[in-house]
Symmetry: C2
Subunit: 228 residues, 2 copies
């Protein structure tokens, strides 16, 4: 399969590397590839420059958002959530038409201080915004409730734990569930919450995720839904 | 110990019955006890009238919010979240002064349609609103992330699962944790998230809780934090 991963940050890199390791063709999309490659300093989050990561992942290509999306069968939104709609606009609605669009981002809002809040929240979600903006894309919200290292290696966390899928298209959710299986997620550990409005619920896990990160002192944890 | 349980709905009744079964003295607080006892029809949620529940729990007294709070060593807010501040105002700040106030409610907002949203949310929480309105009460947010039947009987859910405490007063959180132990919560399954602002995180679990209730078809489930 050919994948576009939109976003050059840690999440995008980890997902792209995993997809490439599984034998997929991967293009990472960015606003301005030359500018991305020209950076020599870590970003505000301490992430090393892309040019330092790229030589160890030479099978992963870098292109514009539009080039990546045009190339791909499946598009992964791994942008910082606040930039997601702009990135997808740049990717182009025509290049998303009919494609599965995995939205693994969260709409973190740093404008209200730390810890970040969410925008949108409560009566809307980033997943829904994306689905409304690109009605012919098949948006599936998934994997947004854990660190990216756990996304691609669920065995880092002991015992049973869950990921969720939200989306309007059952076949797209099947495609997502198949990809999750290849990442190491047993299908029984993938909970289908329903349509894309259920993305509100998974995005709203972020505030407690951030507090748990603080309380536990590490990010190798995840939500498990214990049941009768 | 003497407990006030504010709220005559299902949650208040289940908590009051459990506390009484543990040998505590319990008064349920309501706005107008005569009106509460006079009801003969189930409420909008199908909850049977209080007068039908009371004869099987004759050791639980019913009083005004103020009578219940004045009587109690520890106060439990089990109101519908939207009515919590009014109920606590009626209880009276003087009757909450220096007391542990367990806030187990969620600020569900039905005005935006179904499923309910939250108000406040994101940059504030009901737990914080209560702590600000009653600065001399020792507010601990806990148990608000599960059905009331699981609150008082965690063994209904298989395997390990968690509850959370949020609050500014370490001793009050110890008191809460002790009460949780008497309900069947091993201390190792109680995660201290930090100060009362962390109540935002637990209240924001409600939207996914409601969707999981739909997806699983029953309420005997709970969040477990799986960790490395």
């Amino acid at each position: 399969m050919r994948y576009a991963v939109l976003g050059t940050g840690t999440v995008g890199r980890v997902i792209a590397a995993k997809l490439a390791s599984l034998g997929h063709e991967v293009t990472i999309g960015t606003r301005d590839p030359q500018a991305t490659l020209a950076r020599t300093e870590p970003d505000a989050m301490g992430t090393p420059p892309f040019a330092q990561w790229q030589p160890q992942h030479s099978q992963v290509r870098l292109g514009t958002f539009a080039e990546a999306a045009a190339f791909a069968d499946i598009v992964v939104n791994a942008t910082a959530g606040a930039g997601a709609l702009a990135a997808l606009e740049a990717a182009g609605a025509d290049h998303l038409d009919g494609k599965v669009l995995l939205d693994i981002a969260n709409p973190l809002d740093f404008s209200q201080g730390m810890p970040p809040s969410l925008n949108p929240v409560n009566t809307d979600s980033l997943g829904e915004q994306i689905q409304r903006a690109f009605p012919r894309a098949k948006v599936v919200k998934t994997l947004n409730t854990m660190s990216c290292t756990v996304m691609v290696d669920p065995a880092r966390v002991s015992g049973e734990h869950h990921t969720f899928v939200s989306g309007n298209d059952p076949d797209a959710k099947k495609t997502a569930t198949g990809l999750l299986a290849s990442f190491g997620w047993p299908t029984g550990n993938v909970i289908d919450l329903g349509d894309i409005t259920t993305a509100r619920g998974t995005e709203m896990l972020l505030p407690i995720w951030l507090r748990l990160w603080g309380a536990l002192g590490h990010a190798d944890f995840n939500f498990h839904i214990a049941s009768a």
